[in-house]
């Protein structure tokens, strides 16, 4: 009985409190994973929320650690959670001031792969978004230079999508020597 009580009394993280106060309508879900606070945010308000997280003097998540994505198309339970959004774009943030991490997830539907670019907030997002575009096909709107970064320019498809065959579609044998040399 005692233990349960202690669990209940755990303080709500500051970031959750503040997000609930300022961006309650954007918040789809919140939780914790191995000591990291995880919030899921509506795509339409994602930019505003990230901007708030970065600029708020108390939170100050000034360091964008990583941007990546997850393709949930083969995990029914995950898929259903957010209205069958196939992709989840993931932002890992760190606050030097609070010395804490935060994971922001943004569900993206297959039929609308556009999502706002955060290059305006963090310059370092440039290559991270290019990589996510290259691997998953997420289209970051407002990105200054959304080209492939890992795969050759003339590559077709986005290899980390779950329906992309592991051994490729014959690119290994048929890639274009000359075009890439140009």
């Amino acid at each position: 009985m005692n233990e349960e009580k202690e669990v209940e009394e755990q303080p709500i993280p500051l970031v959750i409190q503040k997000l609930e106060a300022h961006h309650a309508d954007a918040l789809l879900s919140q939780g914790e994973m191995r000591g990291t606070v995880v919030v899921v945010v509506r795509k339409e308000q994602a930019y505003a929320v990230l901007e708030y997280l970065k600029t708020d003097p108390e939170l100050a998540y000034t360091f964008l650690v990583d941007i990546t994505a997850v393709d949930n198309s083969q995990m029914e339970s995950e898929l259903m959670q957010f209205d069958y959004a196939r992709y989840m774009v993931v932002y890992q943030l760190y606050s030097y001031q609070g010395q804490c991490r935060l994971r922001v997830k943004v569900p993206v539907h297959e039929n609308d792969l556009n999502t706002p670019s955060v290059t305006g907030l963090w310059q370092g997002a440039n290559w991270l978004e290019r990589e996510t575009y290259d691997m998953f096909g997420i289209n970051f709107e407002g990105h200054p230079d959304l080209r492939r970064i890992l795969m050759p320019d003339d590559f077709e498809g986005h290899p980390l999508q779950k329906d992309y065959p592991l051994r490729g579609r014959g690119e290994r044998e048929s890639f274009n020597f000359d075009k890439q040399n140009a």
Partner: protein, 175 residues
């Protein structure tokens, strides 16, 4: 490489007459020189390259076999060591570097990845560089030990001594 009398006497195709005169063929002399001064072009793209570095460093010391002059310009080298995974984006670069090397040139494919793709049977990895450039010596292993690389260099040397042409020009000789 100091030459002793026994070296000269035991060498194939070399005859010593009285005094200090030896006779041989120009090919043998040239090959002897080539064999002992292979200048490698390292193409290290992954973990195998670490073993290559170890081979070149003092402990294993590839310079004992005349191959320590690593050239980072393909135009100055005659031995290409492909050590590591080659992706479909890197293959044109590798091919270009191979093309830039002056003849005669030899190629060592070091490790499982360069030779056959290794464990990376994926959309982006070349399953064996020999599909695109001629390879003279393959080294198995993941990664091969430095001794294996030394052995491969020695095999290239043997190939040169025997007068065999590099894989890269064999097709030219056939026609």
């Amino acid at each position: 490489m100091g030459l002793t009398n026994t070296d000269i006497q035991s060498a194939q195709g070399v005859e010593q007459t009285d005094g200090n005169i030896i006779t041989t063929t120009i090919d043998r002399v040239v090959n002897w020189g080539r064999k002992n001064s292979l200048w490698p072009m390292p193409f290290g793209t992954a973990c195998c390259a670490i073993e290559m570095m170890a081979t070149l460093a003092s402990k294993f010391d590839l310079s004992r076999f005349g191959s320590e002059a690593i050239r980072f310009s393909p135009r100055q080298s005659d031995l290409l060591i492909v050590s590591g995974r080659i992706s479909i984006k890197m293959m044109p670069v590798l091919k270009r570097i191979y093309d830039q090397m002056p003849d005669p040139k030899w190629v060592i494919s070091m490790g499982a990845c360069a030779s056959c793709g290794g464990v990376f049977d994926t959309y982006t990895l070349i399953q064996g560089v020999d599909q695109f450039i001629p390879v003279d010596v393959y080294i198995p292993g993941c990664p091969p030990r430095p001794e294996d690389l030394i052995d491969a260099v020695l095999q290239v040397q043997q190939k040169i001594t025997s007068g065999a042409s590099p894989k890269g020009v064999e097709h030219l000789l056939e026609t």
